[in-house]
Amino acid sequence: MSETSGTPSEQPRTVGDRSAERAATGATIRLESLTKRYPGSSDPAVDSVDMEINAGELVVLVGPSGCGKSTTLKMINRLIEPTGGRIRIGGEDVTHMDPVKLRRKIGYAIQSSGLFPHMTVAQNIGLVPKMIGWPKARIAARIEEMLDLVGLDAGEFRGRYPRQLSGGQQQRVGVARALAADPPVLLMDEPFGAVDPITRDHLQDELIRLQHELHKTIVFVTHDFDEAIKLGDRIAVLRERSHIAQFDTPEAILTNPADDFVSGFVGAGAALKRLNLTRVRDVEITDYPTVTVDDSLQEIVSRVRSSGTNEILLLDRQGRPYKWLRRGDLMRARGSLARAGTPVHDTVTRDGTLRDALEAVLIDNAGRVVVTGRRGEYTGVVDMATLMNSVQEMLEADRLDAMEHQHDLEGAAGGEGEA
């Protein structure tokens, strides 16, 4: 699915400015002492923010409500006009360009989707391409492509009105609309704030996948720190007046919060949260003796004996984990394996998080979980001991990294201001 939908270049039609668009994927954003001061209030709402966001990076602005994170975001597309400082996108100073033109080059997705209720899904998505004068055929193709990209069936959803969609579907369409004109930059203002936790989780996964394909520069605002950890390449923890308390990778923030404010915001369970950041493929996966359903009972029994373990994993014909067989099961099997052993319920993929793995291990009565590959085939097993070792090593490594990082910062602090 992703092969066909990734970039527009596969389509032979409308070759015109294709190359330019491809190059446009992602652009750097630089905020230079960006300030917003509302008339009549003594303190600025956003006080001199400096930030550099690399092309293709997903940066999350996170902070308590009223800290100015949303204001900061809205200054990037000048929904709120800054009263001081500069914004550069892809090196170009956009602080004074026509805001309407600017916004057409920046995708914008907001809480509860912001879809126009009087327009169909297709009209909503096609809005920006239409405004910038794409030909009709290209818009139609693009709508299809975008719906496909966000995992909605174009034939089914194109003609629907927003209120005929679930919250999650609306949000997907909102993202599709934001991406429709292929903007290099995408701003997202608590886009998943109004959907239920399960859908939110889904949408977050979806966004990660999208970003993997598209490499846009995304600025994402949330007050949910877990969401920030899950999505962000880097996280900016903001305190009041949008002061940056810490701007770093999720790992660094979790293991080495810059101050009490940040650690307060990280909250309890930093080690658990850290598990979300590591994939199963990053830890040691042990091999386990396996047999397949095609092996004879005789072979299986001898295999168990020779392996020296109490248990063996039975795979089906496609190599996918099927059952755990114990010695005792084999004794009672009497020639047929049909009813012997315990079926494998839970597996994790190599791309799953360590947190998922831990969850599965905790539930499993023998304290281990089967790891599968892309097509569900067996690749190994992770058990409690492996997990604990890996976490220990990981945290140790983080600590070392963080200390090094600290040194670097202290070294740099002499020359430059804090970033």
């Binding site: 809205k74 309407v100 914008y108 907001i110 912001g114 209720p117 009087h118």
Partner: protein, 215 residues
């Protein structure tokens, strides 16, 4: 002469009155709608201007129509001018109020989204705000029209056009045989016209309100 015979014998006069009544109300409604929506668009953004427009129109609405016509006659004379002015003025009020309420009622996050995806102010107004405010505006137009039907009847006293003349002829000849027929013809005519107009508005609503925001 019973009512049906009366209708039969006077149908030409009656049809002329019906036509004049409908045409006066319709034309005044067109002017009132345009003026009302424009007033709403101009004032809804500013708190005080919008409130001023609403308060003024609400105050005007409390003025009895006969008194309004009475004040207009010394200035513009009898006949069509006071009728048209009074009809437009009264027609304006519900439309201005509903335009302002409708435009202000548009979800601010949608306006924000429209701005955020790069719509100019005019595009935002024409493609997002007005379409979303259209149902209440249409309701305002319906309310206005019904009201104008009755007011136009009263304006006939100041020699205005329409079915009101039929009613006043009946009142003038109270006690005569035809009084009831005349009043009944005028009154029923206005009711039928009002219901017809209303049906047309329902149809317009069906055609112009997108399915996505229809209740």
């Amino acid at each position: 002469m019973n009512f049906w015979e009366y209708l039969g014998s006077r149908h030409q006069q009656l049809l002329a009155d019906v036509y004049q009544h409908a045409s006066a109300v319709f034309q005044c409604m067109v002017v009132a709608t345009v003026l009302g929506v424009v007033l709403g668009v101009v004032t809804y953004r500013s708190g005080w201007a919008g409130n001023l427009a609403t308060t003024t129109t609400a105050t005007l609405l409390t003025i009895p129509s006969l008194a309004m016509i009475g004040l207009l006659v010394p200035v513009v004379g009898l006949g069509v001018p006071p009728t048209v002015i009074a009809l437009i003025l009264y027609g304006l009020l519900p439309i201005v109020r509903n335009s302002i309420v409708g435009l202000r009622g548009v979800d601010p996050s949608l306006v924000d989204a429209a701005t955020g995806i790069g719509m100019s102010r005019l595009a935002r107004l024409l493609r997002v705000e007005l379409p979303l405010a259209w149902p209440p505006i249409l309701t305002g137009i319906r309310v206005s029209t019904q009201m104008l039907m009755g007011i136009a009847a009263i304006a006939a006293y100041a020699s205005g056009p329409g079915l009101g003349n039929e009613i006043f002829r009946g009142i003038a000849s109270l006690g005569s045989k035809n009084a009831l027929n005349q009043v009944l013809a005028g009154t029923l005519g206005i009711i039928v016209l009002a219901l017809l107009f209303d049906a047309v508005y329902v149809l317009i609503g069906r055609l112009t309100i997108p399915r996505g925001i229809r209740v």
